[in-house]
């Protein structure tokens, strides 16, 4: 039973990591039906920015939580700027093009950003400081569930709730939903859809940066390639949960995390990915729209 609980917590952390990145995929897809392949790279850039910021801040004499908070803020701003620029450069000019063109542009952007960081930084793994301080919360599970894992799970849950509220209750959220459902009509209703789409990219990118900082701090290492691998799993999670759905992204991430954790724990880690993708296939056969996805309502 203890072992089960350990695997459960391990899967929870892993799933929350996937979910945090999946939220950005799902948001962008929800608005413009584009799989933003560069999202994983924004996550990676967020982590790199935080690494640089943290070392500068530490040199300037900051300590503890202040470093985490400031590095996070800088990473979020920087990643937001990247997200905004990527959308303006790679996707906005293709707004009227066929659906394949922005997809290819996205893949190109992803490769470009990876190589840009590779050249500007290094191909080697770099150590990432554990910015999340150790604190005591529950003595009984401390040895299997660290404070950084607790922080990741909490941040993912909070982010999901905040995003849901943003989309449900705010003016921008309404504009996002309108743009998602009918872009032409949104324009006719007076919504500046370019601004809405930019905002979506910026929010998604900021979330990616938050994820990047927390996850890198938890794992303790980064290189230019981390975004690609994390991105593929997060994208799987988003599809699993129903792409376009915010709670779906989180549920998809958790289901994926638990599947992998239990598959490793009870069967073999050789088959970790096999089970993860088998699950995806099975779910898509029986629920093509994903766990929480809505089957698309056709316009009359």
């Amino acid at each position: 039973m203890d072992y089960f609980f350990e695997l459960f917590l391990g899967g929870l952390t892993r799933g929350s990591i996937y979910a945090l990145i999946a939220l950005g995929y799902t948001m962008v897809y929800g608005i413009i039906e584009l799989i933003n392949f560069a999202h994983g790279e924004i996550y990676m850039i967020g982590a790199f920015t935080a690494l640089i910021a943290a070392s500068l801040l530490t040199m300037a004499g900051f300590q503890g939580l202040a470093v985490l908070a400031l590095a996070m803020v800088i990473a979020v701003i920087y990643a937001g700027a990247y997200g905004y620029t990527v959308e303006k450069v790679a996707y906005q000019p293709l707004r009227q093009a066929s659906r394949l063109s922005p997809l290819i542009s996205a893949i190109g952007m992803s490769i470009f950003l990876q190589n840009y960081v590779l050249l500007a930084q290094t191909s080697d793994f770099l150590p990432f400081p554990s910015l999340i301080p150790q604190f005591k919360f529950m003595k009984s599970i401390e040895h299997i569930f660290s404070s950084s894992e607790l922080v990741i799970v909490t941040v993912t849950a909070t982010t999901m709730i905040l995003l849901t509220c943003l989309i449900k209750f705010t003016r921008m959220g309404k504009a996002m939903r309108a743009t998602a459902q009918d872009r032409k009509m949104a324009m006719l209703a007076g919504i500046n859809i370019n601004r809405v789409i930019s905002t979506t990219f910026v929010i998604g990118s900021c979330l990616a940066a938050v994820g990047g900082v927390l996850i890198a701090s938890h794992i303790g290492q980064i290189n230019f390639y981390i975004g690609f691998i994390a991105g593929i799993k997060a994208f799987t999670a988003a599809v699993l949960g129903g792409i376009g759905s915010i709670p779906g992204a989180v549920l998809g991430g958790l289901v994926l995390g638990w599947t992998e954790s239990f598959a490793t724990g009870y069967i073999s880690s050789d088959y970790e990915d096999v089970f993860a993708f088998l699950l995806l296939v099975i779910i898509l056969i029986f629920r093509p729209e994903g766990l929480l996805g809505k089957s698309s309502t056709h316009k009359v």
């Binding site: 003016r171 309108a178 032409k184 009509m185 006719l188 209703a189 309502t297």
Partner: protein
């Protein structure tokens, strides 16, 4: 109020509007009739700024608007009920109406207009928490008109409001159009294939063929014009 001056619009390489000029005066209902593919919808989309024009100009109260993005044009007081109604299917009736008032900040005015449209179409009040996609065609048309009214437009562009509706509903819709025009002095630019009904409520009419205006006259004269009768009124 609205002056369309010799505009040319293209879809890719297709020359859709070939020098269209239309004038709409304050308070009137004008109608643009013509066959499928004549360029009527393109004309409205050009006015709304969704489809850019290549040549010519569009003036609203003397101001050029063809250089502005769609959201600013809505802000100036031009609202459109598009062809096919384009209801947001996943939003509730109330949310659809909210979006209509997206650019407005006057809470009291919005409330007033909401009461007005719910009074105009009581069925919408009943369905207020239902998703737009679940409404019937007639209800959706009512919602689309109400949504446009929520922007409190001075010029209302309407594209085929009768399309695909039962005759009894069509009559209701046209009645409401006339009512909106009379009660609020809202200027209406109506695009219709149902020329018969359109010419009954309009003051003046334009006839469009292959991207060109071929005839301009008062609605009464058009209704008795032999060519129009043969081509559009089915007589």
């Amino acid at each position: 109020m609205l002056k369309i001056n010799n505009i040319h619009t293209y879809y890719g390489n297709i020359h859709a509007l070939k020098g269209v000029s239309i004038e709409v005066s304050e308070g009137e209902i004008i109608t643009l009739i013509g066959a499928n593919g004549a360029g009527k919808t393109t004309t409205l989309m050009s006015v709304s700024g969704v489809v850019p024009i290549r040549e010519g100009e569009i003036l609203f109260e003397g101001e050029p608007i063809h250089t502005r993005p769609p959201d600013q044009i809505v802000g100036l007081g031009i609202s459109q009920v598009p062809e096919g109604r384009l209801i947001f299917p996943g939003l509730t009736v109330m949310e659809n109406l909210d979006i209509g008032a997206f650019l407005r900040k006057d809470k009291a005015g919005i409330k007033e207009d909401l009461d007005y449209v719910l009074d105009l179409f009581p069925i919408l009040a009943e369905r207020r928490h239902q998703a737009g996609g679940t409404l019937s065609g007639g209800e959706q048309q009512m919602l689309a008109i109400s949504r446009s009214l929520m922007a409190r437009p001075r010029l209302l562009l309407m594209d085929e409001p009768s399309l695909g509706l039962a005759p009894i509903i069509v009559e209701r819709i046209f009645e409401i159009i006339r009512k909106i025009n009379q009660e609020n002095q809202t200027t209406i630019f109506l695009v219709e294939q149902n020329a018969n009904m359109a010419l009954q409520i309009a003051h003046r009419g334009y006839v469009m063929e292959n991207g060109r205006i071929t005839l301009v006259d008062s609605a009464r004269n058009l209704a008795t014009n032999e060519d129009v009768k043969k081509a559009y009124l089915g007589i």
